[in-house]
């Protein structure tokens, strides 16, 4: 009887371990997707295009935020260096929001994000005359998905050559 009970308990523990390890595996898969996001800011490169070698064209934002991340500042410094080397090129900064907000607020938020990028470029010596800000709000997503990863790709400011 006693042995039997111990055996039963062991089985229960084993079963619990199995359940736990299953959970752990699931979590890993989730982290893989999360591997393209930090917090809820997109850190992947799927949608990124390049203005020149080593000069990514876009920066990403957290939900409802327009604060530049460390990676965003690095991208914008590369853009500023490229713009200084190419003084005849003007740019449009296109600010975007994800679909999880009201249209009018998102228009304002897109403008605020593009301006955050503009301000940073200006502190690195790019004249405001060379920069136009254009907000699209949530009107031009790059990813049509309805999930956190898609939304993170859509919260962006994209630097586009104007000429």
């Amino acid at each position: 009887m006693r042995l039997n009970k111990i055996f039963k308990n062991t089985l229960l523990v084993l079963a619990a371990c199995l359940v736990l390890s299953a959970c752990a595996t699931k979590k890993e898969v989730a982290t893989d997707i999360q591997g393209q996001m930090q917090g809820d800011v997109y850190t992947g490169t799927d949608t990124v295009e390049y203005l020149a070698d080593g000069v990514p064209d876009r920066v990403f934002f957290a939900t409802n935020e327009s604060i530049l991340t460390t990676a965003s500042r690095e991208t914008l410094r590369a853009q500023a260096a490229w713009l200084r080397k190419n003084p005849n090129i003007n740019v449009v900064l296109e600010g975007h929001a994800d679909e999880r907000g009201t249209r009018e607020y998102n228009l304002a938020l897109g403008e605020r994000r593009a301006n955050a990028a503009k301000d940073y470029l200006m502190t690195y010596g790019i004249s405001s005359d060379r920069i136009t800000v254009l907000s699209y709000g949530k009107e031009r997503p790059v990813d049509s998905g309805s999930n956190p990863l898609a939304w993170s790709k859509n919260r962006r400011s994209v630097t586009v050559k104007a000429n």
């Binding site: 009201t102 249209r103 607020y105 228009l107 009107e139 049509s144």
Partner: protein, 446 residues
């Protein structure tokens, strides 16, 4: 673009009957009033006359169908099956046999007659109280035959008003944004239709992105946002002439426009250097006034019907909330304090409520609250919905709803929906394409 529509309306018999029927539209109406809409009777000569011009076999039946449909979608009335009617339309219009109508449980009866007179459409109709065996109302209209749908809407409004004690909202139009194409590259056009979805017309071609059209409550002018030449600016459109003009001369994006209740001003946001503030422009003298001055985002302004106050959306507290201020920008008060984010406040034309969009725990709600923020009531919950616009009587809200896409990013759609203040009567409004950003006009006739 759209010809000025004139309708001649004259009352033939003003009646002062003490009706027993009354419809309470403030409560959830789970027992809509049963009523019978008898087809409008028509003589053979008139029937043929209209068949020739309007290509409709029986214009009397067509008009009564419009009335029946309007009353049904209001959620307050239950139009009974015509097959159960015992009395012929022409005789019923002269003198209903009330016991017959009582037998099929109709509490009210609508009868009428259509005539073709001097190339004009003449319609008379009567509303009867079946239980009291009395005539409640009798009216006649004469108009050009092409206005036949509007006659149906006007009759619906008169019946609604007589039975509920409040103005109707059927002789109205909806302006909205028609949407087509993939989610990442939507083609958007301004479109207009009757409140019941008929007479849909496109007002722009889709060459540039257009958003948020709003009617002038005092006329058939529209203000909206256009990305013409990639410069998002507020425009004014005269839907009768098709004339368009940009509103003001702002060095940046203007958006979120609405008219003042008297139609003389446009109120909107202007975004510059990451800040959005609220401005007004007087359409007569072109004077621009800055109403808010704050480093936050201030947008989605909407006047109270007396023009003395403005409700708007701001993130000055850190997140999107709803505020009310005096029309000069003074005395700013936050009114939304519930959990979640609040946007798109719109003042009811009755003045008593503010409708809004709320985002809470990943769900979007359309709701209403009193103008001091008390009495918050959520009417509908969904994956995504926003931008409520009031019916002119302040009883129904129209808004748009978007669907969630699948794992491949497919299955996106945007549709117009309406819900009444009770929250029970929710309906999709059919449009030829996907649709968003609806705005309800005032009553075309008064």
């Amino acid at each position: 673009m759209i010809k000025k529509i004139l309708i001649l309306l004259f009352i033939i018999i003003p009646i002062n009957a003490n009706a027993l029927i009354e419809v309470d539209i403030t409560r959830g109406n789970l027992n809509p009033l049963p009523l019978a809409v008898s087809p409008l009777s028509i003589d053979e000569k008139s029937r043929k006359g209209f068949e020739k011009i309007l290509k409709k076999e029986n214009i009397g039946s067509e008009i009564s169908n419009i009335v029946e449909n309007n009353l049904r979608i209001s959620g307050l009335f239950n139009p009974l099956d015509k097959k159960a009617f015992l009395q012929a339309p022409d005789i019923a219009n002269l003198k209903p046999r009330f016991e017959d109508w009582n037998l099929i449980k109709a509490q009210a009866l609508i009868t009428g007659k259509v005539n073709y007179v001097d190339d004009k459409l003449r319609v008379e109709f009567r509303l009867w109280d079946v239980l009291a065996a009395k005539e409640m109302m009798a009216l006649a209209f004469t108009t050009v035959p092409n206005n036949w749908r509007r006659v149906g809407h006007i009759i619906s409004d008169k019946v609604y008003e007589r039975l509920t004690g409040e103005k109707g909202y059927f002789d109205t139009r909806i302006i909205y944004v028609s949407e087509e194409g993939p989610k990442t590259q939507r083609i958007k056009k301004l479109a207009i239709m009757d409140q019941d979805g008929a007479n849909n017309k496109f007002l722009t071609l889709g060459n540039e992105l257009v958003l948020t059209p709003r009617f002038n409550p005092a006329s058939q002018m529209v203000t909206y946002l256009s990305y013409f030449k990639n410069m998002p600016r507020v425009y004014l459109l005269d839907i009768e002439t098709g004339t368009q003009e940009v509103v003001g001369d702002f060095p940046g994006m203007t958006f979120a426009p609405r008219f003042s209740p008297d139609g003389k001003k446009i109120i909107m946001s202007f975004a510059k250097d990451g800040k959005s503030d609220i401005y007004t422009m007087d359409l007569e003298n072109r004077i621009v006034e800055k109403i808010t001055n704050h480093p936050s985002i201030d947008t989605s302004p909407s006047y109270s019907p007396d023009g003395k106050y403005i409700t708007f959306n701001s993130d000055r507290s850190g997140y999107q909330q709803i505020y009310v201020m005096k029309n000069d920008g003074s005395d700013v008060k936050r009114i939304s304090f519930g959990n979640g984010l609040y946007g798109t406040p719109v003042w009811s034309p009755r003045g008593d409520l503010i409708a809004f969009t709320k985002l809470h725990k990943g769900k979007f709600y359309i709701g209403v609250m009193r103008t001091d923020g008390s009495g918050e009531r959520l009417l509908t919950e969904n994956y995504y919905q926003e931008a409520p616009s009031w019916s002119p009587n302040g009883r129904v809200l129209i808004f748009y709803r978007e669907t969630k896409t699948n794992s491949k990013g497919e299955g996106f759609s945007a549709k117009l929906w309406s819900i009444d203040l009770t929250g029970y009567n929710e309906r999709q409004i059919k449009t030829p394409t996907d649709a968003s950003d609806p705005s309800w006009s005032s009553l075309l006739s008064n």
